[in-house]
Subunit: 123 residues, 2 copies
DNA sequence: ACAACCTACAACCAATTAGTTGTAGGTTGT
DNA sequence: ACAACCTACAACTAATTGGTTGTAGGTTGT
């Protein structure tokens, strides 16, 4: 699998960066809804809503199960918690200045790291 | 001022939906960095990094202050917390779904809810 | 004064996105 | 069987995005 953490985070935040999708997510977290029931709630075509649902599904923020002719969508609260955890990690960075400490202690010369984690000079 | 909550949330999540911007945010949460210092950390043009910083700034996730010829960027942890709070609200919606299921089992008869009487807290 | 540096912004390009309409296939009730 | 319904996906368009290069103005050190 080539799915990196960054890929997952990209998908999460991209999915959340649209108010219609956030609203859909709210509804399916509160309870199961069929795609067509969701579509009736918005002033756009069924296909458009279906695409939004697909984006949320690809990001892992909701799951669908098939019941007869309907596709019932349900929010995945664990995924939502994972996104929240990412932000908590950001807060921790702020609190602890972890990045700066790494630089000061762990790198006598320079740091070999994933894409562009060079040392940012003195200021 | 016509900045709605949705506009703000759109900007937040859009800004976070790019791995370069998330990395920049990590750095400036850990400590102040000049734009050019940031730019040196990534394999792209200065202008590209500057645009990413501008996106984060417009979203309110970082602030810049001018010192001499440098623009020093610093992460705004309060904004990060606000984003986290949005996700917590989403979780609360999900918890409400469980409460309603409880209600369903608990009250086979009638269920006109007197507002805010009970507050089932469990996970 | 002047070269080196830092920032800002415009103009452009390729790729992606959010919407549309249209078509096709599976499910349900009569 | 058939009409009504639900879903999926393709094809298209307009707008946005993430990158580029180029230009211009302010700051610093010699």
């Amino acid at each position: 699998m080539t799915e990196t953490d960054d890929d997952r985070a990209d998908a999460w935040f991209h999915a959340l960066a649209d108010r219609t999708r956030r609203d859909i997510l709210r509804r399916v977290l509160a309870g199961e809804h069929s795609v067509s029931a969701l579509a009736r709630s918005y002033d756009m075509s069924f296909a458009a809503v279906q695409k939004h649902v697909a984006v949320l599904e690809r990001a892992g923020l909701l799951t669908k199960r098939r019941q007869g002719r309907e596709a019932l969508a349900s929010g995945d609260v664990e995924a939502v918690r994972s996104v929240g955890a990412m932000l908590t990690d950001l807060e921790a960075l702020w609190r602890g200045r972890i990045s700066r400490m790494d630089e000061l202690f762990a790198t006598p010369q320079q740091a070999p790291q994933p894409p562009g984690t060079d040392h940012p000079e003195e200021e």
